[in-house]
Homo-oligomer: 181 residues x 2
DNA sequence: GTCTATACTAAGATAGAC
DNA sequence: GTCTATCTTAGTATAGAC
């Protein structure tokens, strides 16, 4: 009679994501994950080839979560309203899940799948900009500017820059207004 | 007769910076640095309390370099010209020294000295914006927007985003124009 | 200030029994 | 699929002689 499973792929990925959230990517060791799901470390290798394979899954889950967040925010009828809503949701995601965010945006571009997943997550931005500006080329350009601003702003914010006082929310809104003018 | 020095603080810092440039922060181990300057690893502890102390020095050197680059670029007489020149120099620095750049901008805010050094490096940006916009409060706000855009753009660029084609330089200039409008 | 020697810790990963 | 046992590698850091 074979040994019954004590855990599963999805449970392992969830536990790893939890560890990532709470203690950062360096704490996401095979040992810690194993402890977390209640098995011994070597058992994890029956589910994932190695640590990087597990890390990729965790990243995929994070991207999927971000995509959902963005889709939910992209509801407003008017394009500018939707873009601002997306921007705020994006920022909120980064603040609530800084390690996940960091994993998504600093894991080197990665394979084609991973890249297209990221692109898909941000697709509503491009879509709304196209609808807003008419010109697809201009929209593509503007999308780069907007995502650069968003990424720069939230990564500086979560890294603890912006300690100089002043109203951070105001600065964020001002940047958005400038770019969506 | 005491053992003559085979190396020095400055040489160690330089070697560590070199290692950082060429192989990234993970390659900056005490062993590798020691090999690089031609001593044994334990000898380094006569010069630096521990690895993080050395890393801080390397970061300080990188910030000083960035400051110099920005100051050199801030020469043009007209404010907008100077700001664009600074932006281009900033981007060039990030492309030429991605690991240094990353160290500066992701090492958690750090001590007060480290923070003020970063602020000083970016001071010409604030100065030019004030001269340009008149209003200091508006300039401060705009400085945050501009630095967020710059940081977001160059970090996405060096991380290998922007693989979708299109003219990257053009997107950078477009963002700059939008923010400096 | 440099060295040899070594302790310590930690992580990734595999072999083979059950 | 899980386990115990073990390997391998690597890095930080200290002790004490010279």
């Amino acid at each position: 009679m074979p040994t019954p499973p004590k855990t599963s792929r999805v449970e392992i990925i969830a536990a790893a994501g939890n560890l990532l959230s709470r203690h950062g990517v360096d704490a996401l060791t095979m040992q810690a994950v194993a402890d977390s799901v209640g098995v011994r470390a070597p058992s994890l290798y029956k589910h994932f080839a190695d640590r990087s394979a597990l890390l990729r899954e965790v990243e995929q889950a994070a991207v999927a979560e971000l995509e959902k967040v963005i889709q939910t925010a992209a509801k407003p009828k008017d394009d500018r309203g939707a873009l601002k809503s997306i921007a705020n949701a994006f920022r909120r995601f980064a603040r609530e899940h800084p390690s996940q965010y960091n994993l998504i945006f600093t894991l080197q571009a990665g394979d084609a799948d991973s890249q297209s997943a990221r692109r898909r997550a941000l697709h509503p931005v491009l879509q709304r900009l196209e609808s807003c500006l008419g010109n697809p080329e201009l929209a593509f350009l503007r999308a780069r500017v907007l995502t650069a601003f968003l990424h720069g702003f939230v990564s500086m914010e979560t890294a603890g820059a912006f300690k100089l006082g002043g109203n951070i929310d105001h600065a964020f809104a001002a940047g958005l207004d400038l770019i969506l003018a």
